[in-house]
Symmetry: C2
Subunit: 340 residues, 2 copies
DNA sequence: CTGAAAGCGCTAACAC
DNA sequence: GTGTTAGCGCTTTCAG
């Protein structure tokens, strides 16, 4: 296992150690072409005993192929994205492709930089969150000539393909369920929007559907940063102090909704009769809460799977006629906090 | 911005478009060496209007330098690791280096595969969670000739350098605090251990210190999979049904502790007098809970920062005398669930 | 300040 | 089944 230690091992070293040509060593190491079992064994044992690790940089340059898929997401701290990643990984693990993540922190310029870095490694495909990008990012993606799947959202026009849910429709659907249950004085609590297009679209769908029912959002409040659970608690208390007669609170994500739920339960509020609650996402966390929170599943894992499948198919057969738009349908769950 | 579209752009294209030699174009694009402002402008505008993105594969092969740092962690779904990543990113953003994550799912063989893949890209350094690796992984890391920092844990011997906390000491410290507060009938709830060496070490430290105080763990239970909050709830209820006179519950992580807390509060148990509780990690989530949970900070972000600093220094000056062992000291917070 | 030549370590394509 | 020959697209090095 010891080596020269001043220079990384190359194919040539394995070739010399095994007395087999570089080319054949290369064949063995990649399982390509026919090689006799005898030489294969010799090569393999030489490679192993030297501790040789192939140089993919050189391999990629020579073969003009890189089995990487860039996955560009806003954050890893928002549970949603690790779940999308799981879906992607699960599918790619069955293939030659490997995901590589880049994080944008919800900043368009950072997205642009990350994308540039990623593309400079000539990946086989790109999966990128959202439909909103800078012009430069868009141009790079178009010019890249590789499959691009925009995920999470389908309210817009994709550069190439998109997989996600309609957040506008999701907001609308929740508004309809709320109105149908007879709630009338509705408050909205969410993240600051310029950063989060999907939350904004949900909000638009939500208020639009309420308006159709002749109802307006009675109060609204936005936050940024901090522990979501604590924020949810705090915002809920502030809002109810300001507007004590609200009978429903719609939160832009489940974590703040959970904070609100805990706070209201402590105060002895009758949920869902005195006040109803709903969040968004269907995060696993919810399962341990004292009440099952009403929410809507964002199909996170499924989005990841689908996106990865599209990339994978396209990589294997560039002519493949893969879908350009995959719209998944989020299911509403009423839980214990929204009357039916 | 339009291109041939059948072949990615190369330096030569920019060279031709700008009438400047490839070499000078390369200099401009990398800000290396002196280039007159005039030619610099010409090159830059040509590159931009073509939409040229440099090929790092070729660059890396030629320069024998890759500005990537492999970060190998067990999972992205355990909040802990995204936080470590933040620390790493924060430091690396100030440098030329870029983190690339690989996920092992707590499986040693998968770690080995991921490591192999990673090393085949010839990164500038490796940050890897834990001190337990297969022999082959160890050998690869040693043979790689690049800086390696093992993180999270310092109870063991590093291959090269390590940054973390002593989980054994952490377990011991918590046991001491619990005994000092007068609790005597102590239950332990945790993850299944073969998978999680650090949880195991905490457990060992914990039981060791209890033993020194003449106390044994009165009951214990382990889980794997599922929603941690729900599991915490469920395990707590099971354990108390079995051993109703327990007066303290020590959980191997904050999420299951939070589940236990919610469950006990609902039952009207007097916390921390009838039963005390403690978790581990100091996750942000805790801030919104009805009571502040006793826990111990695992210094996650700081671990990431330190590890990244070591790598960065070593990359810039290979002779640098960076620390081989950085032990951070977790702080205990008593919150409202552990008497002082 | 700019250019020309020679590879980096591997693989495609073709011979044998 | 195995070996030989050219590069992949850049950067290093050395000349001007």
């Amino acid at each position: 296992m010891a080596s020269d230690d001043t220079r990384p091992l190359t194919l040539r070293d394995v070739s010399e150690a095994s007395g087999v040509s570089e080319m054949t060593v290369s064949r063995v190491l990649r399982n390509r072409g026919d090689v006799s079992t005898a030489t294969r064994e010799r090569v393999l044992s030489a490679a192993k005993s030297l501790g040789y690790v192939p140089n993919k940089i050189a391999g990629a340059l020579a073969s003009q192929r890189v089995n990487l898929v860039s996955v560009i997401i806003p954050s890893l701290r928002n549970m949603v994205f690790p779940e999308v990643m799981s879906g992607i990984s699960a599918v790619l693990e069955e293939t030659e492709l490997q995901p590589v993540v880049g994080v944008t922190d919800y900043l368009p310029e950072k997205e642009e930089r990350v994308l540039y870095e990623m593309l400079s490694w000539r990946p086989s495909g790109v999966i990128i969150a959202g439909l909103e990008h800078t012009d430069a990012s868009r141009a790079m993606l178009k010019a890249s000539g590789i499959p691009v799947v925009e995920i999470m959202d389908v309210d817009g026009t994709p550069i190439d393909a998109m997989v996600g849910i309609s957040h506008r429709r999701a907001g609308r659907k929740m508004a309809e369920a709320i109105l149908k249950a007879g709630y009338q004085r509705i408050g909205f609590l969410g993240t600051k929007m310029p950063l989060d297009h999907r939350a904004r679209k949900r909000f638009e769908g939500f208020t639009g559907a309420l308006a159709k029912g002749g109802v307006e959002v009675a109060d609204q409040q936005f936050y940024s940063g901090g522990s979501a659970l604590a924020k949810g608690r705090e915002m809920t208390e502030t809002m109810l102090a300001r507007e004590p007669d609200l009978d429903f609170l719609y939160y832009s994500n489940d974590m703040i909704a959970a904070g609100g739920l805990l706070s209201l339960l402590e105060k002895g509020v009758d949920i869902p009769n005195q006040i109803g609650l709903a969040g968004f996402n269907g995060v696993e966390l919810l399962e341990g809460l004292p009440r099952q929170l009403a929410t809507m599943d964002a199909c996170r894992t499924e989005i990841g799977r689908k996106a990865a499948e599209i990339i994978s198919e396209r990589v294997n057969s560039p002519e493949a006629d893969t879908p350009k738009v995959v719209e998944l349908t989020p299911k509403i769950s009423y839980g214990d906090t929204l009357r039916r």
